[in-house]
């Protein structure tokens, strides 16, 4: 049943980073995270909220986030995620790498001065 991951690698990495970033201020459950990313990326990076969950599973398996069952704002059971120390380190590394890449790409894409 080995099915290919639907996302391309760069987006997958980006999603991971965004999740970590979203969790940086404090624990949140999947619904909150999804809306946070959706809002901030103006609907570009997360079309279906479902695709968040495999990413959460992967991050948890790598030990970057940890989860626990809690109660949501409107009194429903929900699975909360928080950053682990390793996750915080990873977020830091990812962010700076991303910024380097963005800077580099921007450099390349800058209109050529004549």
């Amino acid at each position: 049943m080995a099915r290919k991951q639907p996302e391309s690698e760069i987006l997958q990495g980006t999603l991971d980073m965004l999740i970590l970033h979203t969790l940086a201020p404090g624990a949140a459950h999947g619904h909150t995270i999804a809306y946070a990313i959706e809002r901030r990326s103006e609907d570009v990076l997360l079309v279906e909220h479902g695709s968040l969950y495999p990413a959460l599973h992967r991050l948890e398996a790598r030990g970057w986030i940890a989860s626990f069952w809690g109660t949501s704002e409107n009194n429903r059971k929900a699975r909360y995620y928080r950053l682990t120390a390793a996750g915080r380190k990873q977020l830091h590394a990812e962010t700076s790498r991303w910024q380097r890449v963005v800077r580099a790409v921007n450099q390349v894409l800058r209109p050529v001065e004549e």
């Binding site: 080995a2 619904h31 599973h57 398996a61 059971k77």
Partner: protein
Amino acid sequence: MTWTQFFRRRWWDEERAREISAYLEIETADNTARGMPPAEAAAAAHRKFGNTGLVQEEIHCMNTIGWLEGAWQDLRYAVRTLRLSPGFAAVAILSLALGMGANTAIFQLLDAVRLRSLPVARPQELAEVKIAGGNHGMGLNQPYGELTRPLWELIRDKQQVFSGVFAWSANERYIGRGAEMRHFNELLVSGGFFRVLGVTPYRGRLIEPQDEGACPEPVAVASYSYWQSELGGRDIGSGIKLYADGDLVQVVGVTPPEFFGMVVGDSFDLAMPFCKPNQPLRRDVFEVSVMGRLKPGWTRERASAAMSALSPGLFEATVPPGREPSSQQMYRNFRLAAYPASGGVSELRQTYDKSLWLLLGITGLVLLIACANLANLMLARASARGREIAVRMALGASRGRLLRQLLAESCLLAIIGAALGVALSQTLCRVLFWAVLPEGRKAGLRVITDWRVMLYAGAAAILTCIIFGAVPALRASNSQPSAAMKAGGRGMTASRERFSLERAMIVTQISVSLLLLVGALLFVRSFRNLMTFNPGMREAGITSAFLGFWQSNLPHERWMEFERQLLQEVQQTPGVLTAASTTHVPLWGGSWTHGVRVGSTEGDSKFTWVSPDYFRTMGIPVMWGRAFNQNDSNTSTRAAIVNEAFVRKFAGGRDPIGLTLRTGEEPNYPSTVYEIVGVVTDTKYNDVRGISPIQAFAPATQLPNQGPWANLLIYSKVPSNALIATLKRKLAHDHPEVITEFGNFQQVVRDRFLQERMMATLSGFFGGLAAILAMVGLYGVVSYMVARRRNEIGVRLALGADRRQVIAMVMREAGRMLAIGIVIGTGLSLAAGRSARSLLFGLKANDPSTFVAAGLLLAAIAVAASFIPARRAARLDPMAALRDE
């Protein structure tokens, strides 16, 4: 992906499912709060989330190992499909289990007899020192005796090749006194034996160098099984004392359970050290086997070269005295060499080696036939499932995926079959042991299901799985979906192409069955020849008696007289017709040769000293001259009776009566002149399978060197068991100090045919099994072909074909396969026959009548197997067949 994830994947699946539904609930609640109606709120939440199934599957995939999960699924699917057709599964598993069981059992036997190393430390370092090319029958030769004791002592002191050397010999001795007396297997060892082998005591201590030589306090070490069974596992510390042939010995230790001695198939009971006898050691008794542990870095070749270089001095210093100069010169020229000894020594190995390999081949072929049957069954199943497979391929299943699934089914069958087979082989092996080994040997061989056996069974299972699973699976997965769905099993005539595989498999089966049937018939007939062969003497009604009187205190001079007295007492026992003493019991394997000179002709002759009634007892006719009588005494002229072969060799076929023969000088047997007084017919000597050698007989009264024992052969019409009971009772009463051992002469002779019996029984059984399997296979395939051609046959019948023509059509089909199979099989049998040649008695491996019989038998079976479906085809109601269309 980690293993913990893999094993908790079900838990994770549930966890994530709960999480997803939590999301959906929250989203729905939010939607409702925004004022949506409940139904639409839920639908919107689902839309927002996307495909829940897809997300869950993606998460599941992260947790699992693809191929493992797939294999597990395939296996479960295979179990389900097999459960749907329990009949097929049962037949498949049973035939595989039989094939594998037989195979594994034979392998286990082979492993026990041949392949396993001695249970000692680093057995591969052991080497045995032997005379290259043997000692040409010089002097006295004990079983496993390769060198003399004086030679061993020199080797021990002079050799530089081994880090340690030891010598041992195996003997049968008696323990206890009087009526309590019984046999034990003695392992006589040099002081370093256990130390060099690296055997550690189970209890007490083992034999040490200081026990050897003068033997101040006779000690013994018991084997674990002897300690358990005969000594009751008693504490060694308290000192167990035993009488071994009248000497008091103390048991000081026990060897570990796995150590059986040096002879595979013949475990020892008590090990005792070499002690210096009162007289000097004899230089012509080849009684010890000398072994050593190679020094680190030494190869066997290097050791051989070094021992060979050492040889001239060793042999020069130990020339046996009192022998002919030519024989002494031969002795001086002997050279020593080192041989591998990691597996110990074994008579069984030499005897059964070839037949066991042959049987392994036979069982392998039976397994092959079973595989071919299964392959045909699988082919039929695969084509019945053609539509299912086509649908699955059309839906996007990959070829590899389908192949794996089809293979899973056959591998499941193979694995179950192998597991059952291994279980079955335990029983089979025990039955085989019981059938193969002579009485009293059974304890010696250990059959252990070790890694080697499991590996073999595993390899056999995988191989069979590939053989019978791969071809049908490959073909099924190669089918074109569109074609398969269109055909749907409704073709008008089946194409030739379709059945080519089935045909090939049937031809293989027939040819292999023919090979096995030929083999079976050859071995059965060989065994029959052996059982009915007339060795030139009486076998039925003869009882043998061995009487030992070394525990009575008779002086040396009275031994001969006592033997005569015992013989007389036996002769006077009611029921005894005649009885005689002999120095050599014929057909039992021993041999006694003397150098002989008649006039100017020199040569060797077997020599046997017998009492007057010997020829009458054994039913050997005296052709010329006279038999021995009471007048041939210790003081009369030395008289000899010779056989026809003797006359041909030494007297040129002329009447030899009155000629004299002179024996060559040997220690204790001074050169003596005998006058030939009679001629008897040729008989077999020590083996029914052997030749009829040159023989001479002399009166028992003129035996130069009578020992304290007698071999009697007794002819009686009373059943052997009853006679033995009577004689035992009588002798125990009259001479309690005499050791007695009786045997049914013919029984013992026939027990020596165990190998032939084994080959005949087993090859007969397997040949029959092969024929039955081939018959089942042929029946199945012909039936299948007929079923597939139902419509065609219906049309033929409707168009006016005769029913006989239909039968002929189907039978022609089968006949062609049979003919090709028989031709190939005959070729195979002729080629394979060469390997069986040495195991056959009284017929050649390419015996034409055997081939014809096997061919006819197979043809009859094949015709019977294909006639039933042919007749079914002919009875087809054309209307019904066409209406089906």
